[in-house]
């Protein structure tokens, strides 16, 4: 019982950290073509995510693996019910990974521009479909006691699309802030000015999303039952305001950290609302997949808890150290020297 709750929380943490970390390289990937004005700047922008994107993406692999280990029914249902969206996410991630790695591996304007566009498009489609999927999970999937009643096109409902847009907007802002923080000169300037414009879009979408959530989902039921939890969405909104305040004072790093907090807290808000469901059913509450009816047995949960308690903190420490190692602002000179 307790371990099932622990794993519900860990499940949420893994997804939240994944969105926070891969979020900025999605954003940077989408924006690169539009913010970088020449070949050197495009290389700078790519080098800003080059050393870390792969480590970030492992949070998704871990989230997937942890879902499999801790909630096998959720793993089996989530990815087979959402088969085609999952395929689109996989393809986006595949194209994105090789775009980042292959771009610098050959010369020529056509080669570069091919991978630039491949990266931009795949960095857009991945969060778009992730948002669409989670938007539908928040509403509940049409699961009856005897199986799934949904269809691919059924996912394209207003709330699903709104969540998709929110994901894209959050990550665009996140990526712009990251590029502003990691780079210098005119690229950082353009990132900065775009980030401040994007804030309004994010703020507007967040307000609409929070309002629509009241109508399209049951996520607020938990908050109404125990209003203390409202501190989570309040903090989410506060950190979004924080992004604005830090940004206005030219504190790029603080603004980026506030943006991390926004993403973490938005995901946390959704999870508080979902609990104890991992995937609610929109047809029949009894068919919902919950932390209690879809988890692994006690021994698996125990083993996984031990592993997670030891290794997740270790991972966080060394990833943090690697981020610190790459904290110096990237300049045109770094690229000119080659082999940064």
């Amino acid at each position: 019982m307790t371990l099932q709750i622990v794993w519900f929380i860990l499940w949420g943490v893994l997804w939240a950290v994944y969105f926070t970390l891969d979020g900025f390289d999605f954003g940077a990937g989408m924006l690169r073509n539009f913010l970088a004005k020449d070949e050197t700047e495009r290389s700078v922008a790519l080098t800003a995510i080059g050393p870390v994107w792969d480590g970030n993406e492992v949070w998704l692999v871990t989230a997937g693996g942890a879902t499999f280990a801790a909630f096998p029914n959720v793993y089996a249902s989530m990815f087979s019910y959402l088969y085609l969206p999952m395929l689109l996410i996989l393809f986006s991630l595949i194209v994105r990974g090789v775009s980042i790695e292959f771009r610098s591996k050959s010369e020529g304007a056509r080669w570069h521009s091919f991978w630039d566009w491949a990266l931009a498009i795949s960095s857009f489609t991945a969060p778009l479909v992730l948002g669409l999927g989670f938007g539908n999970i928040f509403q509940g999937l049409p699961m009856a006691a005897d199986g799934y009643r949904g269809s691919f096109w059924g996912l394209f409902n207003a709330y699903g699309l709104l969540t998709a847009l929110l994901f894209v907007a959050l990550f665009l802002q996140h990526g712009a802030l990251w590029l502003e923080y990691r780079t210098g000169g005119s690229l950082a300037e353009r990132s900065r000015s775009l980030a401040s414009k994007l804030w309004y879009a994010v703020a507007a979408l967040t307000v609409v999303f929070l309002a629509a959530t009241a109508f399209a989902t049951k996520l607020y039921d938990n908050f109404l039952a125990s209003p203390l939890w409202l501190v989570v969405p309040v903090l989410a909104v506060a950190s979004l305001v924080g992004v604005r305040l830090f940004h206005a004072r030219s504190r790029a790093f603080a603004a980026f950290v506030a943006s991390c907090a926004t993403i973490l807290l938005v995901v946390a808000t959704a999870l508080v609302g979902l609990f104890p469901n991992l995937i609610p059913s929109s047809l029949d509450p009894a068919a919902s997949l919950t932390a209690f009816n879809s988890s692994s047995g006690p021994l698996t949960l125990k083993v996984m808890t031990v592993v997670a308690c030891i290794f997740v903190p270790i991972v966080i420490v060394y990833q943090f150290l690697v981020y610190r190692f790459f904290r110096a602002k990237l300049t045109r000179a770094d690229i000119a020297e080659g082999e940064y």
């Binding site: 050393p51 871990t62 997937g64 090789v98 591996k105 690697v322 940064y340």
Partner: protein, 435 residues
């Protein structure tokens, strides 16, 4: 075609494709780390150039390995939902642990390695690559602990229609998995050694950068002979595991139809599954099959006809992939031995015929590795978890054949394109020698 049939084709394709990149990642990471360590120790610029040359090939290969691995992580849930529900309690754990303890380490440190050439000392930079090499092997171990459980399930009870873990130690110390890990690692190192020797051979034939490629070749030959000999031992141990725990696979891969005591081995053997017999059985060595399988010349081998027809794996594929794999394994020892002799006597450039052979031999360990997996997975059929769950009961219920056909076509197109780009880059960097 059914969801199951299409899903099997798709899984075979994405797994075979992924495994084109895995062994080189496993082996070449260690070889590059060794080369860079030599550079850090000696300061010899040749080792630096060597490190850079091989690491470029490594990175191109690594990138495709990473992105195609993500597919597999989600394939079980997407196409094999019933399997996932049945085994999730057990199979999911090693996958999740793999990501947590190994894949994080590998991915984070490869990023650090790529972008820290000028920012850390030579020794530290080499050490980072050793971490990558260690992490990739650790990753393979956890994946094989998962696969080993499908081959030889241990430490579970069946409750509520699904397998539930009751003994984590049994999963962790599953003999089958460790033998398989050892076998996979040795074959990966052999593949990488042949990769290094083959590309070095091409350059030596053209007389380019002969010192760097001679030394590379020597490293490849030394590692290659050790690993290819160890393959025989790990292969023998694998065979024992199969004999003990997967009698249907043993019978199929040896094409034994009738149960026999003191079974002979036929060097020339052609199975004819249609007639449930062998077309040709010649060049007989008495007792050898019993000896090889059970280390006992009088052991009894249970024949296929003594298993119900619905429990027999496809015989032709199992038999031929096994035979061919073993034949290639023997050839690797011969080639690695010659390579070692010629390389250490500095006679490589005199034996141009041998360099020609080695440059074409690059593909052979790839074929052998894939054949090994064909045998492991097809030989386990009709079971997806040996003896517990049939593959026909494992596919997702919520997807349609149309969905899977669409995804299969999409995978063929995407992976086909990836293969073309990857081959282009590998050839480019294999040819490119920097001054």
């Amino acid at each position: 075609m059914s969801v199951e049939a299409l899903s099997r084709i798709q899984f075979a394709m994405v797994a075979i494709f992924h495994f084109l990149f895995v062994p080189l990642t496993l082996g070449l990471s260690a070889l590059v780390a060794y080369m860079e360590t030599r550079y850090a120790r000696t300061g010899d610029e040749i080792y630096l150039r060597m490190t850079k040359f091989w690491s470029k090939l490594f990175l191109v290969n690594f990138a495709v390995g990473v992105v195609t691995g993500i597919t597999l992580e989600f394939q079980f849930g997407m196409n094999w939902a019933e399997y996932s529900k049945f085994v999730g309690d057990i199979f999911g754990a090693p996958l999740a642990i793999e990501a947590t303890v190994a894949f994080f380490l590998e991915s984070t440190f490869i990023g650090l390695w790529m972008f820290s050439w000028k920012r850390v000392s030579k020794g530290v930079h080499a050490a980072i690559m050793w971490v990558v090499a260690f992490a990739s092997s650790l990753s393979a171990l956890w994946i094989l602990l998962a696969n080993g459980w499908m081959q030889h399930p241990e430490g579970y009870v069946i409750s509520g229609g699904r397998a539930q873990l009751v003994d984590f130690g049994a999963l962790l110390w599953n003999e089958y998995s460790w033998v398989k890990f050892f076998h996979t690692l040795m074959s990966a190192i052999t593949l990488s050694a042949f990769f290094v020797m083959g590309i070095s051979a091409v350059h030596l034939l053209k007389g380019r950068k002969s010192e760097m490629f001679k030394r590379s070749f020597r490293i490849g030959a030394t590692v290659g002979i050790v690993a290819s000999v160890l393959i025989v031992f790990s292969g023998d141990m694998s065979g024992r595991e199969v004999a003990d725990y997967q009698p249907t696979k043993l019978a199929a891969m040896e094409s034994v139809w009738h149960t026999q005591k003191a079974a002979p081995f036929y060097f020339l053997d052609v199975p004819e599954p249609k007639h449930e017999s062998n077309l040709v059985e010649a060049l007989e060595v008495p007792n050898l099959l019993s000896l090889l399988s059970y280390h006992d010349p009088n052991a009894t081998i249970k024949g296929l006809l003594d298993f119900p027809a619905d429990q027999r794996p496809p015989v032709a594929v199992s038999f031929w992939s096994f035979r061919l794999m073993v034949g290639l394994g023997m050839l690797f020892i011969l080639l690695a031995f010659l390579a070692l002799v010629f390389a250490w006597r500095d006679k490589l450039q005199k034996h141009r015929w041998f360099l020609w052979i080695m440059s074409f031999a690059i593909v052979l360990p790839y074929i052998a590795s894939e054949l090994g997996w064909l045998l492991a997975e097809i030989g386990r059929q009709p079971w997806i978890v040996y003896g517990l769950l049939r593959t026909s009961d494992a596919a997702s219920g919520a997807i349609s054949a149309g969905d899977v056909l669409a995804s299969l076509i999409a995978f063929v197109v995407l992976y086909g394109s990836l293969a073309v780009v990857d081959a282009f880059l590998l050839v480019k960097y294999a040819r490119k020698v920097e001054e």
